[in-house]
């Protein structure tokens, strides 16, 4: 799961907007204190705390405070190097219009809506006409921004000729090649548009995606949608690396999102990479990975640790003490019989490879009830990663894992999609302007 995102020092990202609070002031001044007082995990309990939160630096915890909003406008889209919020809703859409002006209008409307949603505002001002359905669906009325982000991307299929965009397709951007052992289900694959909503509150996240879906009606339809979660900031005040559902820390080896050089090297598309509409954008890979939870649960601790190549309790590389002890050194260490302490087929060794290729993981766990044929849990990892180039970063890495990873006994990839995530947008512009105009 993706959380190397420990700090975010960008002062522009300090929480500032409390628009739903203004709404509250009008109707329920008394209720406000109650609401804030009942917030779990927030550092703000009383008026004094509120003032403090407005002046202090950005919360370094992955989840931060619910009254904070993450700015929508900027050089890059939010939701990529933003510390991962508690919840995810990911929606994949197919365009049903073939007119590019409809798509342009959709993204203009989505941009406006997303900017308001991330500030905790309803998607539109309400009219006085009671004969009209409300503009906003209402279930987030009175709720805080909860650090909601909305991140947009397009799949390779938008360059198929429907919109005359063939010449704008980034040269290496394409559907993933087949990987050995995967068991992809068409109903969990692909899409013209990917929208990632992250939030510290599930109802706020649902409200956001629901209103975006509503705005898209007649232009784009849902292809698939998945909810995800991770441990909340409230449950993990020390903000350790999150654990996946197999019980292991996941994300220890992520590149540091606070290092602009690393991000430019591994995540953000650079001017020289082209095409120009993707500069400061990034490419996203999404894989729905089902875990064979019951099988894993009856594997011995040693087997589990040999599978990951890390100690379960500490997250340290096998043979080491601390989670952040040098992996490179640990990978060289051998047993008396000449075998590696970290097995050759372990997940950590294969993921690391020669260390030259990195991706930014930002995954969530999912749980979707039971698998009807087996009665087993339908749960796993909704894997999300960002990179500057999928063909030279994710593909070779996943190819290695698909062929050799010992973890493959316990997981199966059932969904897959790739999206070119646009650069950020400034006020007055709209998401994807460089592509659609």
């Amino acid at each position: 799961m993706g959380n190397g995102n420990r700090k975010d020092g960008d002062p522009k990202r300090q929480g500032t907007l409390l628009s739903r609070r203004e709404v509250l002031k009008m109707g329920a001044a008394g209720g406000l204190g109650l609401l804030l007082g009942s917030m779990v995990g927030g550092s703000v309990i009383a008026g004094k705390g509120l003032a403090a939160s407005l002046t202090k630096g950005f919360d370094s915890r992955p989840t931060g405070d619910n009254q904070e909003s993450v700015p929508f406008y900027g050089k890059v889209q939010a939701g990529i190097v933003t510390p991962a919020q508690n919840f995810l809703i990911f929606a994949s859409f197919d365009l049903v219009t073939e007119r590019i002006e409809d798509v342009r209008k959709l993204f203009q409307d989505w941009t406006d809506a997303a900017a308001r949603l991330t500030e905790g505002k309803p998607v539109g001002e309400e009219s006085d006409n009671a004969f009209l359905p409300p503009k906003d669906t209402g279930e987030a009325a009175g709720l805080l921004p909860a650090r909601t982000t909305v991140t947009f991307g397009v799949g390779p299929s938008v360059f198929d000729g429907r919109f005359g965009l063939k010449s704008k397709r980034p040269p290496t951007f394409a559907d993933l090649p087949p990987f050995p052992g995967e068991s992809l289900q068409p109903e969990w694959c692909g899409g013209d548009i990917g929208v990632q909503v992250c939030s510290n509150d599930m109802q706020v996240a649902f409200h956001a995606i629901r209103n975006l879906i509503r705005i898209a009606r007649g232009k784009a339809v849902l292809k698939w949608m998945q909810e995800g979660f991770q441990r909340s900031g409230a449950a993990d005040p020390k903000a350790g690396t999150p654990r996946n559902l197999l019980g292991f820390k996941d994300g220890t080896g992520n590149p540091d999102v606070n290092d602009p050089d690393l991000m430019n090297r591994y995540v953000w598309v650079q001017k020289a990479d082209g095409p120009s509409w993707m500069e400061n954008g990034t490419y996203m890979v999404v894989r729905k990975i089902r875990m064979r939870i019951e099988v894993w649960d009856r594997s011995s601790l040693q087997d589990q640790e040999a599978t990951f190549g890390r100690h379960r309790a500490s997250g340290a590389p096998l043979g080491r003490q601390d989670e952040f002890d040098s992996l490179e050194e640990a990978l060289e260490q051998k047993n008396a019989d000449g075998t590696y302490v970290i097995p050759v087929q372990s997940h950590v060794r294969l993921s690391h490879g020669d260390g030259s290729v990195k991706i930014l993981r930002r995954s969530y766990s999912y749980s979707s009830g039971i698998e009807p044929r087996s009665g087993q849990l339908d749960a796993g990892l909704f894997f999300i990663c960002f990179q500057r180039d999928i063909a030279s970063q994710f593909v070779p890495l996943q190819d290695r894992l698909a062929r050799q990873d010992k973890l493959n006994e316990y997981i199966v990839h059932i969904g897959s999609a790739v999206f070119a995530c646009f650069p950020g947008v400034s006020r007055g512009g709209y998401i994807g302007e460089g592509l659609w105009s």
Partner: protein, 286 residues
């Protein structure tokens, strides 16, 4: 077969050797500590030694039968006798499925014999499931001689290699659970035999292989935890009773005839058995 299709023999056997240091859970995993623990575990019990020796005999015996059955199957394929080949297909595979964890430890041999379509590159795909597709989808064995010959020589190579296996007590414990995991991961969802739908044959064979290991370890297990041994015995009986209702002649119904609530029941009985079975590691502990 397992999904890690290029399983390196050295990796798995190496890991098995390392893992015999299971009694050293509390110690830090330094190479020295593991070396000492390996020695200690090896000397631990005459009873465990007897179990591993018996198991090796069982593996060799099953592999002998596997080669014989494969030969008959391959002969039918090469004679162009589709009906006969289809008849022999599932029963032949049962010998392999009973000893799957051992058979899987020889690098490319397992994918060569048992890879399903998509597990390996199309150009490398061969073995039982390639012929399964020919028999059930193309309904013809034309052009399959090459795969038939390879399958026989791969099975003979397996026979030669099982001779060299050093069975450790740890391999028995993880192998028994591994067999049930095979059932959970591919048979229960009907993904193993996607063309012939003979998954219940593999299912039964995996369970029989696991029960064999349980029987061999049982004397040791009873010394440590008699109630665990009787719990496992009961769970095996429950599972086998449920499985028995799908018997048809010498074999089993095809999997697609089972209703979702029936496959779900089988799956849950496997989980109910595998959970206590995974506690057999207690015979290795201090």
């Amino acid at each position: 077969m397992k999904k890690s299709v290029t399983a390196l023999a050295t990796g798995i056997l190496g890991a098995a050797i390392m893992l015999t240091g299971c009694s050293s859970k509390e110690e830090t995993a330094s190479p020295q500590a593991e070396g000492t623990a390996t020695a200690a575990a090896a000397a631990e019990s005459e009873g465990l030694k007897a179990a591993t020796e018996s198991y090796k005999k069982y593996v060799i015996e099953q592999t002998d039968l596997f080669v014989q059955a494969t030969e008959a199957f391959v002969d039918a394929v090469k004679a162009g006798d589709v009906e006969k080949a289809r008849e022999l297909y599932a029963p032949s595979r049962m010998y392999y499925e009973r000893i799957e964890p051992i058979a899987e430890s020889f690098g490319d041999l397992d994918p060569n014999i048992d890879a399903r379509e998509g597990d390996v590159d199309e150009s490398e795909w061969r073995g039982y499931h390639r012929l399964e597709k020919a028999l059930w989808v193309q309904k013809s064995v034309e052009g399959q001689d090459k795969y038939a010959d390879q399958l026989l020589s791969d099975s003979q190579q397996l026979r030669a290699l099982v001779e060299t296996v050093e069975v450790s007590p740890d391999m028995l414990v993880t192998g028994a659970v591994g067999l049930l995991n095979e059932v959970s991961s591919s048979k229960v969802v009907g993904e193993e035999e996607r063309y012939s739908h003979t998954d219940l044959y593999d299912f039964a064979a995996n369970v029989e292989g696991a029960e064999k290991i349980f029987e061999l370890l049982r004397p040791e297990l009873e010394k440590k935890d008699a109630s665990l041994a009787s719990d496992i015995e009961r769970k095996f009986a429950d599972l086998k009773a449920d499985l028995a209702q799908y018997k048809e002649g010498d074999g089993y119904k095809i999997y697609t005839e089972l209703k979702p609530d029936q496959t779900k029941k089988l799956s849950q009985l496997i989980d109910a058995l595998a959970e206590p079975l995974s506690q057999m590691g207690t015979v290795l502990g201090a």
